[in-house]
């Protein structure tokens, strides 16, 4: 759980020291006031990556040279995370010292649904593979090692094929080990996520079409590394001809089904948003079951959802251990209970006016 967040020169946020506390937080404000930046700061601290940009310097406030984020997280123990960027490069730290990426990611899992995640449902398969791998690493940060080995071996093989492909055998052999591990990790994750998703669907009590996931690996993992190697060897001549790797996890597909057909083809924007929020909740529940209590981040939560759907989803969303929900339509949330309301204005976050909720008296905001 995020206990305290400090931002310096980050995006359009005023330098902030925020103590949000446990439970559900509703961030209300007009577009461009800093709601998404707050969620981005939390995401960036926990994952070391932004969901809006691959260039950390984009996060530096206009006119400044660097930014720095620091968060205090309370789980089984209290841990501080820091992430920042300055012209010399990016930096990150756990409890003040630099460490491996896996141990940074091990501190605070997050699950999120933001504008960027719409691509998971409607975009290229690469977005769904990334979604899968984030889930795999969320449950098991050590899986980063397998992902790194796979990426590296595939990069070497790609280079070799572009140069004619002589001497492919040892690379396929190294790759086969990584592929068989990665595919079974993805397979196990999808199997568990399907169960969690089924349970989440039942909890909504909504009459919805079947929402399901189907993982289609380019090479099945059942036969182990030897089977993978045989498949790679069989396609070697064609790979040399086309000068690129044709089989493997870089060609896997994850189908998200809405009524037994791919959601990206048949579901409306509102239906896809619903699927996205349900998937996010299911991902979070999996982490909770594994004892890795996540922070839930839902940007523009009510956009594309009608009031009925929002009310059906709300108990599931608000029940998370710590949830941050943003919206630019305060009126939609009138009468919806169970959240601490915050007003975000001009890059500042503070208790919402006229809020009747009690828990915010224990939280405080101070601008440095």
């Amino acid at each position: 759980m995020l206990a305290q967040l400090s931002c310096r020169s980050f995006r359009n946020l005023t330098d902030t020291d925020w103590h949000p506390g446990a439970g559900c937080h509703l961030l209300l404000g007009a577009n461009g006031t800093g709601k998404t930046s707050l969620l981005e700061a939390i995401y960036l601290l926990a994952t070391t990556r932004s969901f809006r940009t691959s260039q950390p310097e984009d996060c530096v406030r206009w006119g400044e040279e660097s930014f720095h984020l620091r968060g205090e997280f309370e789980n089984t123990e209290r841990t501080s995370l820091e992430v920042g960027w300055e012209p010399g490069g990016r930096h990150r730290a756990v409890n003040g010292s630099s460490t491996t990426l896996a141990s940074h990611l091990g501190v605070q899992p997050v699950v999120s649904w933001t504008a960027a995640d719409h691509e998971v449902l409607s975009g290229q398969p690469a977005h769904r593979r990334r979604f899968l791998d984030q889930g795999v690493v969320g449950l098991k940060p050590a899986a980063l090692g397998v992902l790194a080995r796979h990426r590296r071996a595939l990069g070497q093989k790609r280079e070799l094929l572009s140069r004619g492909g002589r001497g492919l055998a040892p690379w396929n052999e190294v790759l086969a080990e990584a592929i068989s591990e990665l595919v079974s990790l993805r397979q196990q994750y999808v199997a568990r996520l399907r169960v969690a998703l089924g349970r989440t669907l039942t909890e909504t009590g909504e009459a919805l079409p079947v929402i399901d996931l189907r993982y289609r690996p380019s090479i099945a993992a059942e036969g182990g590394a030897e089977h993978v190697l045989a498949r790679l060897a069989a396609v070697g001549a064609r790979e040399r001809e086309e000068k690129r790797p044709l089989l493997g996890p870089h060609r896997d597909e994850l189908e998200v089904l809405w009524g037994e057909r791919p959601a990206r083809r048949v579901a409306s924007a509102g239906e896809r948003k619903l699927v996205g929020v349900l998937l996010t909740i299911a991902r979070g529940r999996l982490l909770e079951e594994a004892g890795r209590s996540p922070v839930y981040l839902l940007d523009d939560a009510d956009a594309e959802l009608d009031r009925g759907r929002l009310e059906a989803l709300w108990p599931l969303v608000a029940g998370g251990p710590q949830v941050f929900v943003s919206s630019n339509r305060p009126v939609v949330w009138e009468g919806i209970e169970g959240a601490t309301r915050w007003a975000v204005e001009g890059g500042k976050v503070g208790p919402a006016q006229g809020s009747t909720h009690g828990s915010e008296t224990s939280t405080q905001v101070s601008d440095k």
């Binding site: 093989k157 001497g167 690379w171």
Partner: protein
Amino acid sequence: MSDPLARLVGELSRLPGIGTKTATRLAHHLLKVPAADCRALADAIVEVTEKLFYCSVCNSITDVEPCGICSDPQRDASLLCVVEEPFNIAPVERTGEFRGRYHVLMGALSPQHGVGPEQLRLAGLLDRLGGVREVILATNPSVEGEATALYLARLLKPKEVKVTRLAFGMPVGGDIEYTDEVTLARSLAGRREI
């Protein structure tokens, strides 16, 4: 670049793992150091390049030809440990568990760095197999080190010699250089035929 400071920064930043930022910091540090210490550093660099060379048998770094290990009659000539770089020898030596000789490949396969079998010192290795009963492949537990070991295993297969690989457990993308002695000794003892 006539500015001596810029020249020093330029030279330092050509070293592996040193960016402009670190090079600048090192250069400014050297400016504060007594001149005698700077001269000692410069002399050490020159001495290394003038007095040391690669052993013609195993490619390790030496000041005598052949190197101390290659010429030591106490070392078991029937055991050959293959490593990527000359600096990979010292960690294996520190384990105290290996009494054979070495062969340095001077690299590992890496298409992305333009390193194929032609760029490795393989001919010398094949020439040395007479009287060798076991070749231990001690390339790094990285993707490149693994691929190199697999390539060598295939190459040595027809040569009637036992070929073994260090047992690192999971390859973690590491480097023999950073593996502690106990772990390395265990990998050596647990080596498996491939």
